[in-house]
C-alpha cells in the first residue's frame, strides 16, 4: 500500500454564475488591484489516502469527486496526485 496526497480543485462550470467570484473581484478592485479581470471562486481539498498503486488512487479520487466532492450540475473538477510514501 502507498500513501497518496490528492489535491482536488472544484470550480463552478463556466456557464454557471459565480457571485462569490464577482464579489471578490469587486473587493480587489476597491483595494486598488485594478489589473484583475476575472475571478472564479472554487473549492480546494487536500486528501491523504492509501491505495495499492497510483492507477488505483486515481480511480478512487475520481470516484470521490463524481460521487461527493463536486456537484456535476454546476461544478467541474480536476485533481492531481502525489505519491507520499510506500510501505509493503
Amino acid at each position: 500500500m502507498s500513501d497518496f496526497m490528492a489535491r482536488v480543485y472544484v470550480t463552478p462550470r463556466p456557464s454557471v454564475r459565480d457571485p462569490e467570484g464577482s464579489t471578490i473581484m469587486e473587493g480587489l478592485h476597491q483595494l486598488g488591484f485594478s489589473g484583475v479581470q476575472m475571478v472564479r471562486a472554487g473549492r480546494y481539498f487536500e486528501i491523504m489516502l492509501q491505495a495499492g498503486d497510483s492507477h488505483q488512487a486515481e480511480q478512487t479520487v475520481d470516484l470521490m469527486c463524481r460521487k461527493l466532492l463536486a456537484n456535476p450540475v454546476v461544478e467541474q473538477y480536476r485533481f492531481d496526485l502525489q505519491l507520499e510514501a510506500t510501505s509493503e
Binding site: S15, V16, R17, K67, N71, V73
Partner: protein
C-alpha cells in the same frame, strides 16, 4: 394519515414540522437517517429544514448518502408525496429526486426574512386547492437557496416552478428575491415530489405572523384523503 419526518444529524426543524402536520390534521413520526427499514407505513414523507452534517461541502451533499435515502426514493416511486423544506429541498436536489442545484445566496450572506411567494401551480401534493396567483407570506432562513437550473434537464415538462418570490403586489421583482435564484424560483414540483426554500411550518398561526404555511400543510393532508 401519517407522515414520516426524516431526521439527519444536524436537522433542526423536525419538531416544528411535525407540529405543523398535526395542526393540519395529520400525524407525524420522526425517522432517523440511519434507519434503512421500509417506509411503506407512511402516507408521505417530509425532509425538514436544518443543517444536515453541518452543510459540509454543500447543503445536502452528505445526507444524500444516508441509509434512509434509498427508502425515500422507493416511497417517492410509489407516488406518495415527498416534500423537502429548505435543507430538505437541498437534499432532494442533491439526490436527484428534483433537478437543478441550490447555490450560495448571491449576497453571500445568510438570509432570514419574511417573503411573499406566488403560487404558480395548483396541484398536489402541496398546492392543491390553492389558486394560481395566490400570495403566501412565509419566512425564509437559508444561506444556500439560490436555485440554479440544470442546463441538461431544464424546467418545463414534468418539473414545474411551483412558487416564486414576489413583492406584496405579486410581481416577481428582483428586489423581492432573497437569494438570487433564477426566475425568483422559491419552490419546484415534479409529480409527487415538492421542494421549497421558505418555511411553511413557521407560518401556522397569526401569532407567528401568518397562517399561509398552514394552507400548504392542509393541502398536503387533503391530497392524501383524496388519493
Amino acid at each position: 394519515m401519517k407522515f414520516g419526518i426524516v431526521v439527519f444529524p444536524g436537522t433542526n426543524c423536525e419538531r416544528d414540522t411535525a407540529a405543523a402536520v398535526e395542526i393540519a390534521g395529520g400525524q407525524a413520526e420522526l425517522v432517523w437517517h440511519a434507519d434503512d427499514s421500509p417506509l411503506q407505513r407512511f402516507d408521505g414523507l417530509i425532509l425538514p429544514g436544518g443543517f444536515a452534517h453541518g452543510d459540509a461541502l454543500r447543503a445536502g451533499a452528505i445526507a444524500r448518502f444516508s441509509a434512509v435515502m434509498p427508502r425515500v426514493m422507493e416511497l417517492a416511486q410509489t407516488g406518495r408525496p415527498v416534500v423537502g423544506i429548505c435543507n430538505g429541498f437541498q437534499v432532494l436536489v442533491e439526490c436527484g429526486l428534483l433537478p437543478g442545484a441550490l447555490l450560495r445566496n448571491d449576497s453571500l450572506q445568510f438570509r432570514a426574512e419574511w417573503v411573499h411567494c406566488r403560487v404558480e401551480v395548483s396541484a398536489p401534493p402541496l398546492t392543491e386547492g390553492i389558486p394560481v396567483g395566490t400570495l403566501l407570506y412565509m419566512p425564509v432562513a437559508h444561506g444556500m437557496g439560490n436555485y440554479c437550473e440544470d442546463e441538461r434537464s431544464p424546467l418545463g415538462g414534468e418539473t414545474l416552478v411551483a412558487l416564486r418570490y414576489c413583492d406584496a403586489n405579486g410581481d416577481a421583482a428582483a428586489a423581492a428575491n432573497p437569494n438570487g435564484s433564477a426566475g425568483n424560483i422559491a419552490g419546484i414540483v415534479r409529480g409527487n415530489v415538492f421542494g421549497l426554500m421558505p418555511h411553511p411550518e413557521r407560518a401556522v398561526s397569526p401569532l407567528l405572523g401568518s397562517v399561509d404555511g398552514l394552507a400548504l400543510f392542509k393541502s398536503l393532508t387533503r391530497s392524501l384523503v383524496a388519493a
